[in-house]
């Protein structure tokens, strides 16, 4: 995670280098493939550099970075909706190839709408509170609770089989 130690006059590189791997892992769960996750991470870092004076002044630069990452991801998905309204059919991205459980998780996450997916990743990967997730995604805590509950059920249904498969092998 990022720390305040890199808040020098020009501490962006140290800040980014320390945090890029964590951001990338979150992006990987959001996007479902490595290329898109790298693009999302780099775009996030570029935005942080563009507004570095604001990031440096923030109380929690790591939280600021996570917010930029998540909102950039959601904005990208919204652009896809605009493409849809411009009559361009959109194909869902194929999940990455990998071990059975990884494929299953990414495929299961891909079934969730973008905001629900972001909620699950922020809640269970980033380990943020319901209130923090609600604030970050500009919705009510009850929305986060209900969406996470539904999403958990979906993921459980998909992961359950993989769990058994993994346990038997």
């Amino acid at each position: 995670m990022f720390t305040g130690a890199s808040r020098g006059a020009d501490g962006f590189e140290e800040f980014a280098r320390a945090g890029q791997h964590r951001l990338y892992r979150t992006a990987y769960l959001l996007c479902g493939d490595a290329d898109a996750a790298r693009d999302l991470t780099q775009t996030t870092l570029a935005k942080l550099f563009q507004h570095w004076h604001r990031v440096r002044a923030a109380d929690h630069p790591d939280a600021y970075a996570r917010t930029v990452l998540t909102r950039t991801y959601i904005a990208e998905r919204r652009r896809r909706l605009r493409d849809l309204l411009a009559h361009t059919p959109i194909a869902a991205p194929a999940p990455a190839v990998g071990p059975e459980l990884t494929v299953t998780l990414l495929a299961a996450l891909a079934e969730l709408p973008p905001r629900a997916r972001a909620m699950v990743v922020l809640r269970y990967w980033e380990d943020l509170s319901v209130e923090t997730v609600a604030d970050l995604l500009r919705c009510s805590p009850s929305t986060v609770k209900s969406q996470c509950s539904r999403s958990l059920a979906t993921l459980r249904a998909r992961l359950g089989d993989a769990h058994l498969y993994t346990a038997r092998s």
């Binding site: 590189e13 980014a16 280098r17 890029q20 791997h21 990338y24 892992r25 990987y28 769960l29 490595a34 996750a37 790298r38 991470t41 780099q42 775009t43 870092l45 570029a46 935005k47 942080l48 550099f49 563009q50 570095w52 930029v68 959601i74 904005a75 998905r77 919204r78 652009r79 909706l81 605009r82 849809l84 309204l85 009559h87 959109i90 990998g98 071990p99 459980l101 990884t102 299953t104 998780l105 079934e111 709408p113 973008p114 905001r115 629900a116 990743v121 269970y124 990967w125 500009r138 919705c139 929305t143 958990l152 059920a153 993921l155 459980r156 992961l159 359950g160 769990h163 993994t166 346990a167």
Partner: protein, 295 residues
């Protein structure tokens, strides 16, 4: 660390087991993600480009303000109940931003601009103020005229033509654009009104009050896992501007726009809507068609 194949701990209820299962799967998945090359150098290059583009956009807009002569115009203002609350303009006053007691201020929704995209925040202060006043009042007008399911309508701070409606977690993107038509070689012919069944596209030619011909469009498409959502658009030419009102579905919740193209036609024919369009036609808020916004 607890691993997936272990029995779940103690007497935790099933929900905790589900959470643990998901957390563990996430740990395994991210641990198995392909290695990450250093992204910092690329981010610095991209970030510097973003800064340069933002500076260029500010310069271009400042030039446009001088050319358009933006001050001193009368802007119609509506209150939340849809009735005109005053006949004079916020834009004509010494202080361009109305106070909360005069017009309800709708806090804009913030959207972080993507690479290559400019935001209203990049505008010079005077132009930003002018566009925010218009956007705030347009949001009130749209909330009054559109179906209740789309309320409250809020401006989106990334562009003057972007709005968002819906409550209880629903987010319906709304675009209300009055954009000057291109002239000369950049002018383009109007797109024909065509039905394309294969793409779920339906288009009807309709007539608005005053004999204005418009296109009412319903677009259906696949977004996720074969589920479909529907959006609606009405568009027409007014004066020397192209007017477009679009309401999209909630892509996250996979819910179609709670308005039909026919209802949008009724909105577009309302005197309040036309008055707002007429103002924007005379005092453009957007770049002329054919020009590139943001670079």
């Amino acid at each position: 660390m607890y691993v997936l194949m272990d029995p779940p701990p103690g007497d935790e209820p099933g929900r905790d087991d589900d959470e643990l299962l998901v957390r563990t799967a996430m740990e395994r998945t991210t641990a198995g993600a392909p290695p990450l090359p250093d992204l910092v150098t690329g981010a610095l290059v991209q970030g510097r480009r973003r800064r340069a583009r933002a500076r260029a956009a500010i310069g271009a807009t400042a030039t446009a303000i001088v050319g358009l002569g933006l001050f001193g115009a009368a802007l119609p203002v509506w209150g939340g109940d849809g009735e005109p609350v005053r006949q004079w303009s916020a834009a004509s006053r010494t202080s361009p931003v109305p106070t909360a007691t005069e017009v309800p201020v709708r806090p804009p929704v913030h959207i972080e601009p993507s690479p290559g995209e400019t935001s209203m925040a990049d505008l010079p202060a005077d132009e930003l103020s002018r566009q925010r006043v218009f956007q705030n009042e347009a949001a009130g007008m749209l909330e009054t005229l559109l179906p209740r399911a789309l309320g409250p309508v809020r401006p989106v701070d990334i562009a003057v033509n972007r709005y968002q409606g819906g409550a209880d977690g629903r987010v319906f993107p709304i675009s209300f654009s009055v954009r000057p038509l291109a002239t000369g070689k950049a002018a383009r012919a109007d797109r024909p009104c065509l039905d394309v069944a294969a793409k779920g596209l339906r288009c009807d030619e309709v007539s608005l009050p005053g004999g204005i011909m418009a296109q009412a469009i319903t677009a259906t498409g696949n977004a996720d896992e074969g589920k479909t959502i529907t959006g609606a658009t009405v568009r027409f030419v007014y004066g020397h501007s192209r007017v477009t009102l679009t309401v999209g579905g909630d892509a996250d919740a996979m819910v179609s726009a709670p308005v039909t193209a026919e209802e949008l036609v009724a909105v577009a024919g309302d005197a309040m809507f036309i008055e707002m369009v007429a103002y924007a036609n005379e005092h453009p808020m957007e770049a002329k068609e054919g020009s590139v916004r943001g670079g």
